[in-house]
Symmetry: C2
Subunit: 368 residues, 2 copies
């Protein structure tokens, strides 16, 4: 293998694929990065065994030029070297030895055998099951994935549930709270899949300004964004039937509208005095709301202005961090919170959006 | 105690004294911050048992106003609350209970008994043993303290040595390298003290734009900078006689001048291939220098341009990180490196400064 490549282009590509590489990989070869040069493109691949990122740099004879095809698995130190080098980098590879030349510097690195590197999953790129703009895709993930479970007790809940039919519904829940986004989209067929939250969040880091295409088979999901491909296993098992958890409009006995920033700041303040369990109490009276918490050594009491209130007065306790995360995911100034009673889940949604297109549901905490 | 205080002023003061506070303090009361209000000033004190920071906020009736004198030790949560509050904060303290009121928020905190908080060391503020501008003081510390030992095997070497006489000489060494700064200064008397590197580095974080005054007794050192006082124990024991380690001008057989930035970049590059021990080899020939390293799985070779060279050719090995840290401490474009032979310490100094006013000395590594 022999190639000439711009430092910036190689560095950007390596950073993308290196995002999933770990020194703790179970197979030693996965601690390195696959560098594969053909006459058409230079391909970089990094993987931790379950998630894999591939990035392609097209050969243009200027920024990227391949003199001789070949492949090698370079140790992670390769990226450290590239970061510090000058504008143009020349790479010569022969057997297990790689020479990297740039300006007045010359490096020699031992490489691993590229034939031992796992194959990258192949999909028919003309047939994505879903295509979205990158901003639309980012929005969906940022409004849902934080609600996925961090615990492995029910592995299926560590994923984000995609349901494609006459519309797209994306959900995540850890059984204490639930996030769900629905949007209209023309799709070829019905489909349901649970993708690890880690995968969709990892994807956010490498996403480019182009569209995001999603490809699926029974075991694997792959996303394509620009020249980057991100693949992962999908989660096995049935996702819980969550639609019945979401209350209907007629169930609501108390509906309030509040300024999102003020509510967010008040929650952060009130929960300082609730370091142990993070639970705060919300008291809703006619046009006045009070957030409070009470621990052995500290108490807090914060008033909030209500923009509007309909229905009964209410006292309810919940985990402040769940509401803080839900509010932070919303692009809105006003937020509507709809309650049934102090025992049943309540929902938040941006006041300017139909409540069932963007739901943040939170279960209250019983404090008696 | 009852006082009214601006959020920003209180927050800035608390951040300064909190810098030394640790939740792992051996005495429980030190996990908190002492808040002491008199008619003249509000005093904040934080300590980890060996280092103590005191910050004074003068009462002006506007930004700081004390209605009723008093003192309490507040838990660290107090700072978290203050950070999130509004512009004006009202504090009411009675027995062990403190109420903090600001805007629509009210907090109650349990406090500890201020009479149990250790006394702050007192010095006669009119008699500093040394006064310097803050920038001069910062420079001295940043050019020396990094060479102090990180290991506790010889505790005295974890300190920075101040020698005050007809001039000031400040030194630090970990026995593999040595940094020494000398500057002329009118002083009242001869004095020698070893101050923990941790203390002078901690001081850098709270230093204000005013002068820095230093006060000393047998066991304690205190620095005053603006309204902040930083005190610490001094290190017991005799500092090694380091002057005989520094070679004389006639000892030098090879003297080269190099561009500092190029040398720094080349050292960082060459040492990538020397991850295990960090040792690089420098080869000096007539008007050419080569830095290289060689490990089992990687090699590097980086050429450097010499601005000038006098004396014999030389091959010498040393720890790259020692030279990198030494170079980073220098405010200069050109650096002069003077060698005796490959077994003896060599020195670096900014080319535009007299070599014995700012010395960075490094011991070579024997590689045979």
């Amino acid at each position: 293998m022999q190639l000439k490549i711009s430092k910036e282009v190689l560095k950007e590509g390596l950073l993308k694929v290196n995002a999933v590489v770990t020194s703790k990989a179970t197979i030693p070869i996965l601690t390195g990065i696959l560098l594969h040069a053909t006459k058409e493109e230079v391909i970089l691949i990094g993987s931790d065994g379950t998630e894999t990122v591939k990035h392609c740099l097209p050969v243009d004879g200027e920024v990227v030029d391949v003199v001789e095809e070949g492949a090698a698995v370079v140790p992670s130190r390769f990226l450290t070297i590239v970061k510090k080098l000058n504008k143009e980098i020349n790479i010569f590879h022969d057997d297990s030895n790689m020479k990297i030349k740039s300006g007045k510097s010359l490096f020699e690195l031992n490489c691993m055998d590229a034939t031992e590197y796992p194959k990258f999953v192949e999909f028919n790129l003309d047939e994505p099951c879903l295509t979205m703009s990158s901003s639309e895709f980012k929005g969906i993930i940022q409004k849902t994935s934080f609600s996925a479970s961090k615990a492995e007790t029910r592995p299926i809940l560590t994923g984000v549930h995609f349901k494609l039919g006459d519309k797209i519904t994306v959900s995540a829940t850890d059984s204490h709270r639930l996030s769900q986004i629905s949007c209209d989209k023309e799709l070829s067929g019905d489909l349901e899949v649970v993708i690890p939250a880690k995968t969709v969040e990892g994807l956010l880091k490498v996403i480019e300004s182009d569209d995001v295409c999603m490809y699926l088979d029974k075991h694997q999901v792959m996303y394509k964004t620009g020249a980057t491909f991100y693949s992962s296993r999908v989660l096995d098992g049935n996702y819980p039937e969550i639609s019945r958890l979401i209350p209907n409009g007629e169930d609501f006995n108390t509906v309030v509208e509040m300024n999102k920033s003020e509510l967010l700041q008040s929650l952060e303040l009130a929960s300082i005095a609730s370091e142990k369990n993070g639970v705060v109490k919300l008291e809703l009276k006619e046009n006045a709301a009070i957030l409070s918490s009470n621990e052995e050594t500290s108490k807090s009491n914060v008033e909030i202005t209500l923009s509007s209130m309909e229905g009964k007065e209410l006292i309810i306790s919940f985990n402040a961090s769940y509401m803080i995360e839900a509010l932070k995911s919303m692009d809105t100034e006003e937020v509507t919170v709809s309650f049934n009673n102090d025992q049943r889940p309540f929902i938040l949604h941006p006041s300017d959006i139909d409540e069932y297109n963007e739901i943040q549901l939170i279960l209250p905490v019983r404090t008696y």
